[in-house]
């Protein structure tokens, strides 16, 4: 399953380019939020998870829930690159009559659950993990959360229940870029001490650099024997584009033609 790190890095670069292009074409923001999770999703989809692009509903597939649905440009770009759907379909993103809305929907090939409203994904993933235990299936369940959605009470309801049910087939990754809709997480609602919170809720909790493919590959390939796993991935909003990195505005703004050109040039230089 494991791909070489350098190959994964090239893939992530291509995915970033795709994110920029479809977001520009679809005239939509949330670009920083998507770039923040490109490395997490690239390693997950290309190196860890069992997915079946030709039979997307394969019963033994690993389930992947993008709980922070607003980062879907990264997910759509990956699903296209995996072969779940065509380029033409990808480029309907955020246009009238599209199936690729600004938050993912279950009827799209490769999407395991509809998300968008924050604080749902961990519970959905927990249900899938519990069903896996009951059905004696070996699939794993992954959920990618934003830091901001840890403000939602339901996230912590799920945290309690999953630990109590010992759902070790569940791995959650928090995209901890420390920026939410109105500013820094430590100014809006401080999450720290974040790792200790998850540990005290009964999760195996690991902190990593969410852009380091080797670290991602190492932690995502393991699962605990009797606990759900939480990976707190330290990330940078807008990662990979100099003028977007760690800048709240790129939670919102769309790209101008000039900005797109500059951003793509930066990425191509690093390829």
């Amino acid at each position: 399953m494991k791909s070489k790190i350098s190959q994964l890095q090239s893939k992530a670069n291509i995915i970033r380019q795709e994110v920029l292009k479809i977001s520009h074409k679809g005239d939509i923001g949330h670009i920083g939020s998507a770039l923040s999770i490109v490395d997490i999703l690239t390693v997950l989809y290309f190196s860890i998870a069992k997915v079946y692009p030709q039979t997307p509903d394969h019963p033994d597939r690993d389930r992947i829930i993008l709980s922070k649905g607003h980062g879907c440009a990264a997910l759509y770009s990956i699903l296209y690159r995996q072969g779940f759907f065509s380029k033409k379909f990808l480029y309907t993103y955020h246009k009238n009559n599209t199936q690729l809305a600004a938050h993912p929907e279950i009827h799209v090939p490769g999407i395991d659950a509809s998300t968008g409203s924050l604080g749902h994904g961990l519970s959905l993933a927990a249900g899938m993990a519990l069903a896996g235990k009951i059905n004696k299936k070996n699939y794993r369940v992954f959920a990618v959360l934003s830091d901001g959605e840890c403000d939602e009470g339901s996230t912590w309801e799920a945290a309690l229940v999953t630990a109590h049910q010992k759902l070790n087939n569940l791995t959650a990754i928090i995209d901890y870029n420390k920026i939410q809709a109105f500013g820094r997480t430590n100014q809006v609602i401080n999450l720290e001490p974040f790792k200790q919170k998850w540990q005290s809720f009964g999760w195996q909790t690991i902190e990593i650099d969410g852009h380091n493919h080797k670290q991602l590959q190492t932690v995502l390939s393991k699962k605990s024997t009797n606990k759900p796993t939480m990976i707190i991935a330290h990330t940078i909003l807008g990662k990979g584009i100099s003028f977007m990195e760690d800048d709240l505005e790129w939670h919102y703004w769309n790209l101008s033609d000039k900005q797109l050109k500059q951003a793509l040039a930066e990425l191509k230089k690093n390829l």
Partner: protein, 305 residues
């Protein structure tokens, strides 16, 4: 009704291994036998209803049939957005069991009084809404709810509801059931308040008034054809429900009649007062809100004259 429900579920779970029972830490003295018989398919997910609804959706998306149980307010109002997004939008095969519909928990106060659920649940596409009136209907509709592929909201009473059928009624999801054929007046009702409607009709009988009584155990999809047919055959239509007069059965019937060319006198009986500062048991609260047998009969008689 809760006993009829759990007994039926236990029988179904013996054959259907996909059935799991999830509870939000409620059902004490009701679920112990299920728990004992199926320890690996009973999950007390704690007092966390929003999570429970989304988890149920996740389970259903992985071929389980989760049966989710709570008191009606906590099975509808509290986790509403989770029911909307995760269960109904995704057409997840989840059955929501709401105990104590109407005034079942009246003495517990407003937090447990459930008179808004039908209105909000009616809004949700893909969702079937069932309101059995007695233990026999509960058994039949529980079986049909589980057989149906897709989300169902099953609104039960709390306890000790009398049997209103003396033979096995031929109930089908989506079809109104004529309990009594009368003339001139038809009463449309749903859920356990049917008991009072039958009693009211006995009071009216003394005055030589014999209403048709129709039990709409399925609120969604509502039996539009039967409503139209009976509205043409009668001069007066009354709806009686243990629910707000806004958004429930009465509103649904009004929507149908107002878009048709049927000319009929129409009145909704239900709860139309603001929150009360004093509590009471089911019988007390039904009476306070004009839903005792005598008050139903009086309202109908007054309207006729």
């Amino acid at each position: 009704m809760r006993i009829a429900f759990i007994k039926t579920l236990e029988k179904l779970a013996e054959k259907n291994k996909c059935i799991s029972l999830l509870t939000g830490d409620l059902g004490f003295t009701v679920f112990e036998n299920f728990q004992k018989k199926f320890p690996n398919r009973f999950f007390n997910l704690g007092i966390a209803e929003s999570n429970m609804m989304a988890m149920a959706a996740g389970m259903a998306l992985c071929d389980q049939i989760p049966i989710v149980y709570s008191i009606a307010t906590f099975a509808s109002l509290r986790p509403y957005e989770f029911i909307r997004n995760d269960i109904c939008y995704q057409n997840a095969n989840v059955k929501i069991i709401a105990a104590g519909g109407g005034f079942g928990y009246g003495l517990a106060g407003i937090s447990h009084t459930n008179i808004e659920d039908l209105a909000i649940m009616r809004l949700l596409p893909n969702l079937i809404i069932l309101c059995p009136a007695d233990p026999i209907e509960t058994e039949i509709l529980t079986k049909q709810a589980i057989k149906h592929k897709g989300p169902v909201y099953l609104r039960l009473g709390k306890t000790n509801e009398p049997k209103l059928h003396f033979s096995q009624p031929n109930l089908k999801i989506g079809e109104g059931f004529i309990m009594q054929q009368g003339k001139k007046i038809a009463i449309f009702t749903t859920g356990g308040i049917l008991d009072n409607v039958i009693k009211a009709s006995k009071i009216l009988k003394i005055k030589n008034i014999i209403p048709t009584i129709v039990n709409f155990h399925t609120i969604k999809p509502l039996d539009i054809n039967l409503i139209k047919k009976l509205s043409k055959q009668h001069e007066y239509i009354f709806t009686v429900e243990e629910h707000s007069i806004i958004g429930g059965l009465g509103s649904a019937v009004a929507e149908i009649l107002s878009e048709s060319d049927i000319k009929v006198e129409f009145k909704r009986l239900g709860i139309d007062k603001a929150y009360s500062k004093t509590a009471g048991n089911q019988q007390f609260l039904r009476n306070r809100h004009g839903l005792s047998p005598q008050k139903i009969a009086t309202t109908i008689k007054k309207d006729l004259t």
